[in-house]
Symmetry: C2
């Protein structure tokens, strides 16, 4: 009988963890889509029990011993195995860095802050949330300091490592600074150029059933495997599941033919990423996605760069006619393209276009760093938000609802999360430039509804790497160049200035 | 801070187990109803991991110590707590009685036997299954002997305890013997009486959507809570879930307006049982249902006794007209009633009527006891089946497919299971007699579509008892009389002889 090495025993433990995580994914999806409305209490117990089990599994003395012994024998491990061992340690370190008593205090504070956030939104008054948010920030700072000590990082960096592993705030600064410098004028220029001729509004009645049929046709063209995944309607678009059983949802708006489709494309980007993760490592930490920023890059590449390109619109237009019987000048290729890429200054992140969205992210990034360092007291957040909004977006929110109460993230204790949206767009820009370089025929392929070449490139260059490298190294492997905001800015310049 | 007693710690452990079991229920329901077809491999891993976890939880030294210490302090426990402790021990004993090596060998043998059973059915030849079934029987006998030693029971009784806790084979014999004696002549009499005037066939096109609407109307009348449960179409009718999130399915046949409805009623009986279990004990062993026979009794009471009664047909007829626009002599109250209760000898258990069904069960009970005792070698099963079929059912199966290959139970290693179908019918008969005694207005209530009185009686007398008593004691508590086949036989006599 062959000896089972400590490393192999670790793989076995993490295989269990993967099964638990997969079960949790099904339970969450069911809660959002199929669960009876009154069963939330029952489901809450199930989710909490399984999550606690996952957490406990990472904190056992047995796992600690196995990690030590595997590390001692690491010289004999292959590259993927070494990377896997590193990811195992990373997951364990994150899980045990926060003592259970602090985890429990944060959970309680967050539950209250979430309720207060809803109440504050009803009353349109940040003052209702502020005291509870102060408590959340205080506790999250304690947690960040513990993580910082353990990982030898700046506290904010230690939190962000969960979303953008391997990317430090100095890297993020190097990305966001050129964006901040160019975006304000770029927005002005784009708005001027788009004013004439005016973009025709696209309105009408677009039944959900027909939108759904259109989405399915588009998703099939992109290679979404309906025998290994589902597509459902939901209150908001999301992706849930594990590779091998991946479930996309979108939200259909009956007056808008694009919201549901672009939501589906966004989620399909993430789903195809999950489905392309290295099959041999599917149940191991190294076989998982490389965090929020990478997921977002795959979503934005499909939704923004491919899905709002001239080539895609050329392919899409006959499909719109087929599914909606819709024609007219507002549905000309030119107008649809311009409509999908229209730029407007607005106070809301979630409704923002591709250009102003980045400004929203940078604003949050700056504010959350100041909140976490203690430089900005929570009670001054509203004023700071409004000042920065005036400076960067050129507008002051009309109310807290349109300002510092619009996102739930901080009330949930989620700091270090926002930048991954922006970094995701920047990575998408760099990947898109590399794809266009490597596949000069990409526009013709897209125009013909052929996405196999695009998916193949992403599979080989991005998906197949799993969590083998940190974010910056992964981008370098995929594109041959260091992570930089330049390609994304070149893409924006071409799309919103040269091309319009 | 109050001391947590060993008993309270046990409750906490079993609360975790309950959450795991609930998660497993959602995963199984999803696998049958919503999961993408190609994701069975992923789901298999998740189910196996969670099931192993449940099993491991029952076998820890910690649990054994807690059970010992709680037992030592049992004098201070309230009645429900004592019953709960007994059920905890019972679950633990069942879980650890079979050594893991034997569990694994049975699992492997069963997986092969299941495949062979399908192959044997394709070839219509029991010989294909026999060698593998022999191995399963051999291993199940080993398991039965271990359980028998542990529980001080006969081996077959030790297996059956899982399905009909507290009911021994001598009790089952006392139930099945009078059935075996009366049923053959009762079947002959019923068939003679039903021959004239002939029962008109009920055929037509009954779209699934309309059948579904009818089912929902009926289920609502019975008190099924759609905010705490679901109702879906499936390949076969089943109930899955936990109290608080219970999910019923049925199978609609487009040519038959009753199959889907009666399947839904059958499952609604089980669902209402689960929903009526004692709320204070919902996550403890004593708060669970009292096994297969009790579940079956609740299903058959609704499907057979209520759902095929004259009063119910009187209420149902206008609903049939409303949902299917169907009229004509074949849909007269009299014909629908006679149609739903028609008796015919046939080789298949799953298609059998209420009378001949019992004979099918007794036949299997006798054969499986002989198989398990070694008195009947597996290779002689076909002949024994056919002989007993000729003797009891008055027919010899035309082929193995219609004979000893029709059920999968034994190939799956499930012995002691079949009798619970028959015992369930007998319990239903006894409950039905008691209900009619206690609520003389029950027929008028049913005819008016008022089922709250019926449900209230069942809730108070049966559901609210959970697993507090063994099966015979539970029946005595519910009806005031010892478990007996006599009420069920009286019901059959009245329905199929006096009344027709």
């Amino acid at each position: 009988m062959a000896t089972v090495t400590p490393y192999q025993q670790l793989e076995q433990e993490f295989r269990r963890l993967h099964a638990f995580r997969g079960a949790l994914a099904v339970l969450r999806w069911d809660a959002a889509i199929t669960m009876p409305r009154g069963s939330a209490d029952v489901r809450g117990e199930q989710l909490a029990t399984l999550e606690l089990e996952c957490h406990a599994l990472l904190g056992t003395p047995r796992l600690a011993r196995l990690l030590e012994r595997a590390q001692a024998g690491a010289a004999t491990l292959a590259d993927w195995q070494s990377a896997n061992l590193r990811e195992m340690r990373r997951l364990r370190d994150h899980a045990i860095a926060t003592p259970p008593s602090l985890v429990a205090r944060i959970a309680r504070a967050v539950a209250q802050a979430e309720a207060r956030w809803r109440e504050a939104r009803e009353r349109n008054d940040f003052g209702v949330l502020a005291p509870q948010l102060e408590e959340v920030v205080r506790l999250v700072r304690s947690r960040a300091e513990l993580l910082a000590q353990r990982f030898g990082l700046d506290p904010w960096d230690a939190l962000a490592d969960e979303f953008t592993p391997g990317l430090l705030s100095r890297d993020i600064d190097a990305i966001f600074t050129p964006l901040s410098q160019r975006l304000p004028t770029l927005v002005t220029e784009a708005i001027e150029r788009q004013a004439d001729p005016p973009i025709l509004p696209i309105e009408g009645r677009f039944p959900a059933g027909r939108q759904r049929a259109l989405c399915i046709e588009v998703m099939k063209a992109f290679g979404f495997p309906f025998d290994r995944g589902r597509f459902d309607d939901s209150d908001h678009a999301f992706t849930e599941g594990v590779p091998g059983d991946i479930r996309v949802t979108t939200r259909f708006s009956p007056r808008d033919p694009f919201q549901g489709l672009l939501g589906a494309l966004h989620e399909t980007g993430q789903a195809l990423y999950d489905l392309g993760l290295p099959a041999a490592w599917v149940d191991q930490p190294v076989g998982q996605d490389r965090g929020m920023a990478l997921e977002e890059s795959q979503s934005l590449l499909l939704e923004m760069m491919v899905g709002r390109s001239r080539a895609f619109v050329a392919w899409l237009r006959p499909l719109l006619e087929k599914h909606f019987d819709a024609t007219g000048p507002q549905l000309s290729e030119e107008n649809v393209y311009r409509y999908l890429n229209r730029v407007a200054r607005g106070p809301n992140r979630s409704e923002a276009d591709e250009l102003t969205y980045q400004t929203h992210i940078v604003l949050r990034y700056e504010l959350e760093r100041r909140l976490l360092s203690g430089q900005l007291p929570v009670r001054e957040l509203r004023d700071a938000w409004n000042d920065l909004s005036a400076e960067r977006l050129g507008l002051v929110p009309a109310s807290d609802l349109e300002g510092c109460l619009q996102d739930i993230h901080w009330a949930l204790g989620s700091f270090g999360h926002f930048p991954s949206y922006g970094v995701g767009a920047v990575i998408a820009g760099q990947l898109w430039e590399a794809i266009r370089e490597h596949r000069p025929t990409i526009d013709a392929e897209i125009q013909a509804g052929q996405f196999a070449g695009l998916l193949g490139w992403l599979r080989e260059r991005v998906h197949a790497l799993g969590a083998r490298f940190g974010v910056p190294e992964l981008v370098r492997h995929a594109t041959g160049r260091p992570l930089s905001a330049a390609p994304f800015l070149r893409y924006l310049e071409r799309k919103y200035v040269s091309d319009l």
